[in-house]
Amino acid sequence: MKNTPFTQKHIELGAKMAEFAGYNMPISYSGINEEHHNVRSNAGVFDVSHMGEFMLKGEGALDLIQRVTSNDASKLTVGKAQYSCLPNEQGGIVDDLLVYCIEENKVYMLVVNASNIEKDWNWISKHNTGNVEMHNISDKTGLLAVQGPKAVQYIQELTDMDIANLKYYTFAKGTFAGVENVIVSATGYTGAGGVEIYFEDKDDNAEKIWNEIFRVGTPQGLKPIGLAARDTLRLEMGYCLYGNDIDDTTSPLEAGLGWITKFTKDFTAREILEKQKAEGVSRKLVGLEMVDKGIPRHGYKIQNAAGEEIGYITSGTQAPSLGKAIGIAYIRKDHAAEGSDVFVMIRDKAVKAHVVKIPFA
């Protein structure tokens, strides 16, 4: 099991630890509900250093990214980031990722899921026919997500970069907490606002950044947050989690990721996906809210009133901010409209739910 630059910190702070994607990660500190509410109403810090980072450099970098990703990276200018995915040859998803434009047409950073680092690296390398310079900097890059409505206000004093005015999906590069060469990005996986902070894991950078963030934040209620609350926060927003809601067998169009699938350029499986779009998909990823009591969980089957199987749950939880049980599910198209009644099979009981809009409210 690998450690992040902060693993020892989490253990010292008494976090409940577990393996996630091969890393020893904090699952929770004071309790999921409390951590969740702290992020929604105030601010919290997530260690997400397990995420993977690749640098792509050179004249052909943009062309390579355009060919392997579904979104249109030619729209990116310096300081902008983009959510995208890597389609496979069958129109499934190798991974979802963020593309950062460090230098237009020349230098890009791709941020990928920890569980897919090797798979993505091999996939992109295979398509790298133009000898683009590629660096896997995952092991020497630290990443903290400081999320919540108060996050930016607390940490602004640690840098000269104007992070308080960073627009969503833009980033700045500079000195943060005395550490040089830090990227502060107005992105995140919580829907609560805030930033993600990338830095080189060398010398005492990690220690400095962690300590400074908590020095300014702790008096105002900033707390460390585990992966469990990260999951409930993202689920309330309806953000996809690779391996749960999307994978090699699900298409971006089924997953509601049509908005990052741009047919204005050529990319892997473009023809398959274009055909899918024209003909319509047979199932859709939708939000479910439980009407009767029960909590949907990954893998539970879904039936219609006639008892026919029409889909399955990909993620589910009791939503701490909403006070109700919610889930995300693939459902046959004829039952996927908002308001449709469906039945989640929970321990052999059919428990009523209906299809709702995402993000959940």
Binding site: G31, I32, A228, T232, G294, I295, R297, T317, Q318, A325
Partner: protein, 125 residues
């Protein structure tokens, strides 16, 4: 963590308090800590006669669900009505207000096979 002396314990982290041939059952302090915030206790086995180690319900935490196993054979006579609206009492008071069921015991000999507080503490220690 608490391990009350008066209770018996199972390897599945239930406790049982025996009074005559009647017993109260819940989950241990260790179990509630492992599960985290409990949001729903689902027991529909009232009136049913079940064998030892049979599933009598489930407990849902925010992130996970866990089956509940009957410590000894018997009949479930009551389900804690307070858990319907306050399931979090399983977290805050697992041996008190967070109790789950009351039951009658078929065979008192089965109680003797369960762990005492010291043995259980050693198991989870």
């Amino acid at each position: 963590m608490q391990f009350p002396e008066a209770l018996k314990y199972t390897k599945d982290h239930e406790w049982i308090k025996v009074e005559g041939n009647v017993a109260t059952v819940g989950i241990t302090d260790f179990a509630q800590r492992e599960l985290g915030d409990i949001v729903f206790v689902d027991i529909s086995a009232k009136g049913q006669s079940l064998g030892a180690n049979e599933i009598f319900g489930s407990v849902e935490a925010v992130k996970t669900v866990s089956d509940l196993y009957l410590p000894v054979s018997g009949t479930i006579t009551e389900v804690n009505p307070g858990l319907e609206s306050n399931p979090e009492e399983v977290n805050s008071d697992p041996y008190g207000n967070g109790w789950m069921i009351k039951m009658t015991i078929d065979n008192m000999a089965e109680v003797n096979d369960l762990m005492d507080a010291a043995a259980y503490q050693e198991l989870v220690g």
